[in-house]
């Protein structure tokens, strides 16, 4: 009996499916939401470049999503994507990578890209851990958690990455979880449509290398917790730090228009080219 074929197989590198994420891993759900978002926007993969770093989450676009793909070094996808976008402003450039990649080793690129407001969409999969390398502490791991490199418990407070990116000046910022798939999908579409730097922090699960150690053994355990912890940003506004402890603020954190970096760069080049043209009396 032949198996049914999912329509979204058109958007992935079908020949290498099923993917290699662990059972119940949130990376698969993010891939699902992302392909849905692209399908819904009617985007042609020939108009897209997907850039990723190193980590399990980086495998979502590379190799699984079928488009031009740049699978880069750990922490640097936003910097690589900057070069792509400047030269091909007409292409939709999406970065998908992990919390360790984007907010740890690559944190500097993240804040500067947000400050410049370059027209990239960055989808950061925050599983609160270094999944691929076996469960070491990440800059997003909650304090008090035992990981392989904090065997006596983590003493560092975690970054609230989306808030950081808002402060750095991004055009569009949201936070969702792998439980909130419908708003996540819609948010991805808005992020891609928004000209300027867009960022979605996707709280996700790594049952294999994180959940096991904190008593959330399955994807289900995580999703239940995400559902419980989630608090709409509209409700969270005005609440105290104490009240927000252990909550995940979800929703759109900002959506604003600001001059976009690549357009500004091209404007300067156009002006300089025209000036030289004039100087030379219009000669080629």
């Amino acid at each position: 009996m032949s198996e049914p074929r999912h329509r979204l197989m058109d958007f992935v590198r079908e020949e290498i499916m099923p993917h290699r994420f662990c059972s119940g891993c949130g990376c698969g759900t993010v891939l699902n939401a992302f392909t849905n978002a692209v399908e819904g926007l009617g985007l042609d993969s020939a108009e897209m470049v997907c850039v990723s770093g190193i980590g399990c989450s980086s495998w979502i676009p590379s190799p699984y999503f079928r488009a031009d793909t740049l699978h880069t070094t750990h922490g640097r996808p936003i910097a690589f994507a900057t070069g792509v976008k400047i030269l091909r402003p007409d292409l939709t450039v999406v970065v998908i990578a992990g919390d360790g990649d984007v907010a740890g080793i690559g944190g500097n690129h993240l804040i500067h890209a947000a400050r410049r407001n370059i027209d990239l969409s960055v989808f950061m999969v925050n599983n609160m851990i270094y999944g691929m390398t076996g469960g070491q502490v990440a800059p997003t791991t909650p304090a008090g958690v035992v990981t392989t490199t904090t065997p006596h418990s983590n003493v560092e407070p975690p970054f609230r990455v989306a808030d950081l990116v808002v402060a750095a000046g991004a055009s569009y910022v949201a936070r969702w979880t792998t439980y909130h798939v419908f708003p996540l999908l819609e948010s991805m579409q808005n992020a891609i449509k928004r000209k300027g730097f867009s960022f979605i922090e996707i709280m996700s699960q790594c049952p294999e290398n994180y959940g096991r150690r904190i008593g959330l053994r399955t994807g289900i355990d995580f999703l239940k917790q995400f559902k419980e912890q989630a608090l709409r940003v509209e409700k969270a506004n005005g609440m105290s730090e104490e009240e927000l402890k252990d909550r995940i603020v979800i929703g759109k954190l900002c959506d604003k228009e600001r001059p976009e970096y690549v357009s500004e760069l091209h404007r300067i080049t156009r002006e300089q080219v025209d000036k030289l043209k004039k100087e030379m009396g219009g000669a080629a």
């Binding site: 793909t69 740049l70 699978h71 070094t73 910097a79 900057t82 070069g83 400047i86 080219v273 000669a283």
Partner: protein
């Protein structure tokens, strides 16, 4: 890459003129002449003048210059740009060159053409930040991890900084690899006249293109052609070990073996095309002593050779213009009738070790560190001691 109208106009504007330029500035003009579309960099002495002139001039030729948040990002951005079909480059010095190493390895592994200018300064670390050196000769060769090959050229005048930029971009496209212009702070900050060529004498080398996305990282060709982003081929580029179609295979031993050997071989087999030297030898076999040098050191070295000849000593001279791949055949030939080769360089003996591997005669380094180039007298004295 074919030069577009904006670049042609720019060249027409400057062609035929002679400018008085820093080596760094000449390098920047040379890049624009070579069709550079994109520059990304981070300020550092003594390379900042490359970025500053490019920032001023590149937009006039239709290109874009940006300053990134660091050198890792600069190197990353130029690789991203290269996959859209652009000619892209960065410029830096020691500390920044060290930061770039991981992504230089990425460019090697993904066979991405791009150009890195390293205006060497005294190290390690911030060493003598404003002083010239030639201490990165081996870092240029082996700076990134893993087996790999590299192309590096070393200019010794402002004019050559200009001229070699064209070579760098052409070699990068021909061999699909990053190419390093291995300058030193002395040459970067030397001020000399530079002739800006006319458009008619500017040559173009086109990047080889592939037809099938299945073979852009191997297949039948030693140097496969490229397919750029936005062409509808779903190109997959990764720094992990991959098959000819770009898909990762990091476990099959022969896949890695074949990929790395091919990337190694494509440059080795281009040796004759890449190697550039300049020799100045006395009439046949009369000389027992030779001098080999490069970059800034080659200037006093040549002066010292001249002075020794004026005193009746037969001294041969060879200047390495290409550093990597090493001109092993040419150096071996040069050494054939010699008893001794002196190698003045602004380090404690880096290229002298490489020369030693390929010659039968004695090789003596003439090292100089401290931020001041050799004087003619210093090298002359060593030569005179050697011949007596």
């Amino acid at each position: 890459m074919a030069l577009d109208d904006n670049k042609k106009r720019y060249i027409n504007h400057h062609g035929g003129k002679t400018y008085f330029l820093l080596g760094d500035e000449a390098c920047a003009y040379g890049a624009i002449y070579a069709g550079c579309d994109f520059f990304a960099g981070y300020p550092i002495t003594p390379a900042s003048e490359v970025a500053e002139l490019i920032a001023e001039e590149l937009p006039k030729a239709g290109g874009i210059c940006i300053q990134m948040e660091d050198e890792l990002a600069s190197m990353a951005a130029i690789v991203g740009a290269a996959w859209t079909g652009a000619r892209s480059m960065t410029a830096t010095s020691g500390p920044g060159f060290s930061l770039m190493q991981e992504n230089i390895g990425y460019a090697i592994m993904t066979e991405t053409p791009c150009v890195i200018v390293n205006v060497q300064r005294s190290g390690p670390s911030t060493g003598q930040a404003t002083k010239p050196a030639q201490g990165d000769m081996l870092q240029a060769r082996w700076g990134t991890h893993g087996d790999h090959n590299i192309i590096a050229l070393a200019p010794n005048s402002a004019q050559e900084c200009f001229d070699l930029m064209q070579d760098c971009f052409d070699l990068a496209d021909t061999y699909r690899t990053p190419v390093i212009l291995l300058m030193d702070g002395e040459i970067g900050h030397i001020r000399e006249s530079v002739v800006m060529p006319e458009l008619s004498s500017v040559r173009h080398t086109s990047r080889k293109r592939a037809e099938r996305a299945e073979e852009i990282f191997g297949g039948q060709e030693l140097i496969p052609g490229m397919i750029h982003y936005g062409e509808g081929s779903n190109v997959h580029v990764t720094g992990s070990t991959h098959l000819a179609n770009g898909m990762r295979d990091v476990t099959t031993p022969h896949v890695h073996d074949e990929l790395i050997r091919r990337i190694y071989k494509k440059i080795d087999s281009g040796r004759e095309d890449i190697v550039r030297i300049e020799t100045d030898t006395v009439a046949n076999g009369k000389s027992r002593v030779g001098v080999i040098s490069y970059g800034a050191s080659a200037r006093p070295a040549r002066g010292a050779v001249k002075a020794a000849r004026a005193e009746g000593k037969n001294i041969d001279f060879l200047r390495l213009i290409s550093i990597w791949p090493f001109a092993r055949k040419q150096v071996a030939e040069f050494s054939r009738d010699l008893d001794l080769i002196l190698v003045p360089e602004m380090n404690l003996g880096q290229m002298s070790r490489e020369i030693e591997r390929f010659v039968d005669c004695k090789v003596i380094a003439v090292p100089k560190i401290g931020g001041v180039p050799h004087t003619v007298d210093e090298i002359h004295q060593v030569i005179m001691e050697a011949v007596s």
